[in-house]
Symmetry: C2
Subunit: 352 residues, 2 copies
């Protein structure tokens, strides 16, 4: 195991699309959404077992989730849990942790991953991560993982790869032509037909010098702000200074701030049973289903004449569902929702 | 107020059709099913306010519901709560309490009523009860209330009245021609067309001498059994003797044992907004509904594109229902059920 490998888990999301299972008090990454006995952030950390030593694992999260992270990931150092006082999207998060890592180890080689995604084939995932880390250890490239699309999904951003231009060091890692926003169905179908479009999984691999340089060039204000705090990182003043900095910091994604501007961006097309679990239906598709297409996650759930539905309960002792097709039945902590899967994009409105 | 008026509330039902709202541990009569702050048995007692003094109110229930009755009806004497050790239908229940009342007051005039029905026009109800009590105080007649049918309901038994033969004392009380079982829809429609068929509400009015004589004649075994215990009623041995007697007692309804055999049965056609709340849909029809036909009974229920449904929760803090038409969503004590109203007759099967 190379001690230069670092892992950054971004765990600040509030998971409002999964209400009531997920709530601002305890969002999706901290829940056992699959009913497998582990929360998503625990499964995320576990995927990097054998690749990144515990002392090199970093979690960036909201101040309010500090205890949840410490409880659920007891093996990572408390000092590696970085706390954001407010939501500023992913660029400040990545810049902050990159400077922290650089101070600790200027030769660090980093994987950045969301905390709340699912990977079903962990062996394939680990092989891909190892290959990407080898690549970024030897080059100054930014690598993003591109999931080979299995359907024309309109819920993801796409990465257009130039399949004629692979890296000389790794034949299966390609130059990025462009990043594409979530497409319409027609466009998504065209992407899938063309074969060189990949889902943007939000997983980045780079050396710390590469990412710090990219921030210096493409997001100089953010870069300067976090660099200026170098002397007080790992001191008692750090949190107060970060709190002040965040309050005034620009809110921007790392995709906008860096990826879409930088040259020398590579995409590594991968296939390891990935889902961002971004919708109830994606959760249903990934979960174990009965012969009628129902995913039942909860202690004691029985269904009758029920099809293509997801039933997810935590507080109920017993659940009986009859006569639903294509519905969500979700309960947590005394909050119950019944909603058509086709209307799930409205869930955010239900709990305003 | 005539101190001879007695009320018998039959409160032994287990309400399995209303699972999970209702359960064997706490059946429907002990629940605030309408969300009005009172349980059905409390509303039942309240309907007789001004007609029957508290010391003349009797409740016959299962041993296991003793505390529930005592808690919910704190103003009636503990000695008037009669406990059945096992379910033997209504005839033993009525016979037992009739002998108890006869021992207390041989001139008693009695109303027998289920504990779990709903009456929406209490003034009309009280007037009907008073008239019926006046009638049975002066005659040896058995009177049953017959609800004027508002629809060809197939869920009730019907009483065929001989409208040409009214009592000489009360022109609006008629001889009964026959009792009819729950009919098919065609037959029910014919009943409603004919105009002399009434719903059997299971509410009986009679003097204690009339009912005791009727048992002597038409159900002599049951009558003798309960009469034989006369010396030990109101002694320490009563409960043990009743427990033994019930174990060996025939299980039969008062309708079969008495009503269908006796002469001199009268029916009083009434109309006071009655429902036996025998089905979720009857509860929905009686409850306050929104403009879309939804009855929402629970602390914090919101509906979207939802129609003709009943939502009844007790343990949930918050409920959101989207996209249901004609459903039951019911929760109590961590047990949740979603079921089409049209399938509600299967609910009993769901909790075996």
């Amino acid at each position: 195991m190379t001690n230069n490998n670092h892992l950054v888990i971004m765990a600040g999301g509030v998971g409002s699309r999964f209400w009531p299972m997920s709530s601002a008090e305890k969002p999706k990454q901290f829940l056992d959404v699959m009913g497998c006995g582990k929360t998503l952030i625990q499964m995320t950390l576990e995927r990097f077992s054998g690749i990144v030593p515990m002392e090199n694992v970093w979690v960036v999260t909201s101040t309010e989730y500090k205890e949840l992270v410490a409880e659920q990931l007891p093996d990572i150092p408390q000092a590696n849990i970085l706390l954001e006082p407010c939501r500023r999207n992913t660029a400040p998060c990545v810049c902050y942790v990159s400077w922290k890592i650089k101070k600790r180890n200027p030769k660090a080689n980093i994987v950045v991953t969301p905390a709340d995604h699912l990977v079903t084939r962990v062996d394939d995932f680990q092989q891909s991560i190892n290959e990407a880390l080898e690549f970024t250890a030897e080059t100054d490239s930014i690598v993003t993982l591109g999931i080979k699309p299995s359907r024309p999904d309109t819920g993801y951003g796409y990465i257009e790869a130039d399949l004629s231009y692979s890296s000389s060091r790794k034949k299966n890692i390609f130059r990025v032509d462009s990043f594409k926003e979530k497409p319409s169905l027609n466009v998504a179908e065209e992407y899938v037909r063309q074969g060189n479009f990949l889902w943007n999984a939000g997983i980045f691999i780079w050396s710390v010098s590469t990412v710090v340089n990219a921030f210096r060039v493409y997001a100089p204000e953010i870069s300067r702000a976090f660099e200026s705090l170098l002397p007080i990182y790992d001191t008692a003043e750090e949190q107060a200074a970060i709190d002040r900095l965040y309050n005034e910091c620009q809110s921007i994604s790392v995709d906008y701030a860096i990826m879409e501007k930088a040259d020398d961006i590579f995409v590594y097309p991968v296939d390891f049973g990935w889902s961002d679990l971004g919708t109830w239906n994606s959760l249903r598709l990934q979960a174990e289903k009965d012969r009628y297409g129902n995913a039942c996650i909860g202690p004691n759930i029985r269904t009758f004449e029920t099809y293509n539905s997801i039933i997810h309960t935590t507080g109920e002792r017993e659940v009986v569902v009859q006569g639903l097709d294509g519905y969500i039945v979700a309960e947590r902590d005394g909050v119950l929702m019944v909603c058509k899967l086709s209307e799930e994009q409205r869930i955010k409105l239900f709990h305003d």
